[in-house]
């Protein structure tokens, strides 16, 4: 079942996005599993550097769509360029990194191409003779095994951290220009500007210890023992998204894919379930402690130490134990 695989890479200022490199690895795996071949595509304006970076991986070819109209990302521009290219090359699979940019447009591209749509893949397996994929469901509390029925192209996105860049097979291949001469590239929105969310952000990335709270804390008025713990440990307080969305802490305390990325020596996740969007922001922490009342919470799969129980009982006891140990 040799498959033709395309990987659409995201780049910024001539550099490939980390998740683009992971998507290349996923493409190589899929090619290996199906006896197929992988080609990569880079879109943008002035992308020669990113294309040559891509060409240092084992690929059949790198296609470069270098066009002024692709200089600023819009779904309309990217979809018009890719729809034309994909329709003529007819790959079986088109892989995208599951970034905020790809997810903005690739479902719509799938619709336009009448292709199957498979978001957020974390594993691929061909050992049963049929291709099966895994993806998180229910906020990462469960994993679904899925397959794609029927005939025709499939567009899929590859979740962050699921494939390691260390597993990339190096190589060298030719960079070719995609012919976009006859393709009208039409922007469907205008970029007016870019802004920092938190304004003057606290920088959590330098903290040695982070005490992070999640929705499980239950309210802004229930934070006393968390604050005490942070003070005892000389830690910065961070949070998962719902804590911020509910207004319990300011936005510049958010950790995760749309917040800050931290890598402290010690990370305490308190009342946080461990959704992938949170994990990407803290998984480089050296030691992770999770306190959660649900023994099945996915945070326990990435933690080093876990305590199962009500955080409002455990935190006061923990604060006391720290004070005692220091006395």
């Amino acid at each position: 079942m040799a498959k033709k695989i395309w990987v659409v890479l995201q780049q910024k200022d001539g550099k490939l996005h980390r998740m683009s490199r992971e998507a290349i690895v996923a493409g190589q795996r899929l090619a290996h599993a199906t006896g197929g071949s992988v080609e990569a595509v880079v879109l943008g304006s002035g992308v020669a550097e990113a294309a040559s970076e891509a060409a240092s991986f084992e690929l059949e070819a790198v296609w470069k769509a270098d066009h002024e109209a692709l200089g600023t990302y819009t779904p309309g521009a990217y979809i018009s360029a890719l729809a034309a290219a994909v329709s003529s090359a007819k790959p079986d699979f088109v892989l995208f990194p599951h970034t905020y940019q790809s997810v903005d447009y690739f479902p719509r591209l799938a619709h336009q191409l009448e292709a199957g749509l498979l978001p957020e893949v974390t594993e691929m397996d061909a050992s049963t003779g049929e291709l099966q994929f895994k993806r998180p469901v229910l906020g990462g509390k469960m994993t679904a095994t899925v397959r794609v029925k029927g005939e025709g192209m499939v567009l899929l996105s590859v979740q962050s951290g699921a494939f390691s860049v260390d597993d990339a097979v190096a190589g060298s291949c030719e960079v070719r220009d995609l012919d976009l001469a006859g393709t009208p590239i039409t922007a469907d929105r205008v970029l007016l500007g870019v802004e920092e969310v938190g304004g003057d952000q606290v920088d959590l990335s330098k903290a040695e210890v982070v005490v992070a709270v999640g929705r499980g804390v239950g309210g802004a008025d229930k934070m006393a023992s968390v604050e005490e713990l942070a003070e005892l440990l000389g830690a910065e307080i961070g949070a998962s998204r719902p804590v911020i969305d509910n207004g319990w802490l300011p936005r510049d305390r958010q950790i995760g894919s749309s917040g800050q990325t931290v890598a402290p020596k010690l990370y305490l996740a308190i009342g946080i379930s461990g959704a992938i969007q949170h994990l990407v922001g803290m998984k480089a922490s050296s030691v992770v402690v999770a306190i959660n009342k649900d023994p099945g919470a996915p945070i326990f799969t990435v933690a080093d130490y876990g305590v199962v129980g009500d955080l409002h009982e455990i935190l006061p006891a923990l604060n006391e134990a720290i004070r005692e140990a220091r006395a």
Partner: protein, 264 residues
Amino acid sequence: MRIAVCIKQVPDTEARLRLGKDGRWLDEEDLPFVINESDEYALEEGLALAEKTGGEVVVFSLGPARVKDALRKALALGASKAVHLNDEAFANGDAQATARALHAAISRDSFDLVLTGSQSDDVGYAATGSVLAGHLGWPHAWLVMGVEVEEGGEALKVIREMESGMNEIVRLPLPAVLEIQAGINHPRYASLKGIMKAKRKPQEQLTAADLGLDASSVGAAGSRLEILSVAFPESGAGAQIIEGTPEQAAKSLVEKLQKEARVL
């Protein structure tokens, strides 16, 4: 503005999840359901925009009988009409099959704006709104953290979330589809008056046949994606679980962090 808001009913994130008998999905018996988190924010955004521009909100939900509770809540919050896509044939659709059905229902009426959530908290395809935009042929934006109608009412200024604490501001012409991200606003609570009024508001039930859709083009039959099984993560695959009363656990945790991990 006339605004359509798509709301999905999903298992409460607080609920204890149990595997269903066939292993393909959850056991839904006694499972509490709520309105999907980002959809609550989408509904609030729709209601606020309708109030500001002098319009109305119609809510759409595809799902079984239990979905009535979610629709009733939306009516109590201020939506003026609810449309329930209720047909066995719609069940277990992927994002494309669900968007196809929602599009058929939404396009029977005329709207200036369609709002969805950014991602459902159960299957989480993060795609239904974008595919819906494809059907409508309207521009769209995913992960919307701010909406402003420009003077003249022909275009929107939209804040889009990007990775790592950045936003981009974009202008889209109307009509458009916006996929609203959690945290954009502060959803209101239903008032007693709202709850009373909701009882008299129109609720429409639609089947695939009502929408002129072939049953094979929606739901599981109309999907390329098929869930074969779901499973819990191997529990505690990484973590060493510390047992005991809160006091005992706290004490041994501190000891381990001092002596084993050497981070205290």
